[in-house]
Subunit: 114 residues, 2 copies
Amino acid sequence: MDYCCTPLFEGVLDDRSAAEMAPVLAALADPVRLRIISMLAASETGRACGCDLEGPLGLAQPTVSHHMKVLREAGLVEGIKQGRWVHYRVIPERLAEIRDALAPTRALAQSFNG
Amino acid sequence: MDYCCTPLFEGVLDDRSAAEMAPVLAALADPVRLRIISMLAASETGRACGCDLEGPLGLAQPTVSHHMKVLREAGLVEGIKQGRWVHYRVIPERLAEIRDALAPTRALAQSFNG
DNA sequence: TTAATAGATCGACGGACTTCGATATATAGA
DNA sequence: TCTATATATCGAAGTCCGTCGATCTATTAA
């Protein structure tokens, strides 16, 4: 018969790293926020202000503001206040960080540093 | 004074692609599931059965089973039934798919095919 | 100063998620 | 067949999340 393997799990993502990584992925795990990031990245200048997003997204202003806050707190987006407006831009290094952490060869790299 | 830019947002991630992509990221956006994937990838054989995970994770059996279902339904993990046990393994192609979709140069690639 | 506008915050509602005990199903061994 | 074990399913409790109307703050223009 078969026996159940008992792997040792060395070099596994520890609790703390997992707890740091999950919220960043959670910030990305929303259709609206994915579209926002895509819109910022697709914009010619790499930036856009909230007022330009509400229309295309079809969402109320407080909702967009909420999503921007989530993205900001995850370090995925930066807001530059310019007069009455806030221009948002994606922080590509942060996106790359997550991509690298998902590299399967590294078993969800221990190298993630929230 | 400054004017607010009005970007055209061409080539932006459409609603459907975003709706397909988000649940896969949501499946990854949990500390326990990140650790599970890491454990599977770190295992010598690249596999492990549920019974080997409960202990290290410190979670009850139904909880682990629930997380495996989420990962399975997201296409991130595959379960191979062997006798009484189910051996799980990561599907690295799926992980790569998500990594590619997060490539900033592609503005959250339209190429994601959930 | 007053009016208008961009953005943030608050509170509430509905829905989804994580967790676990209890239970059901399937397989292996005696 | 009967017992033991691995896994799945169900139901419940508590928590978290997305959304929006109402409201507040900050800045600009008149």
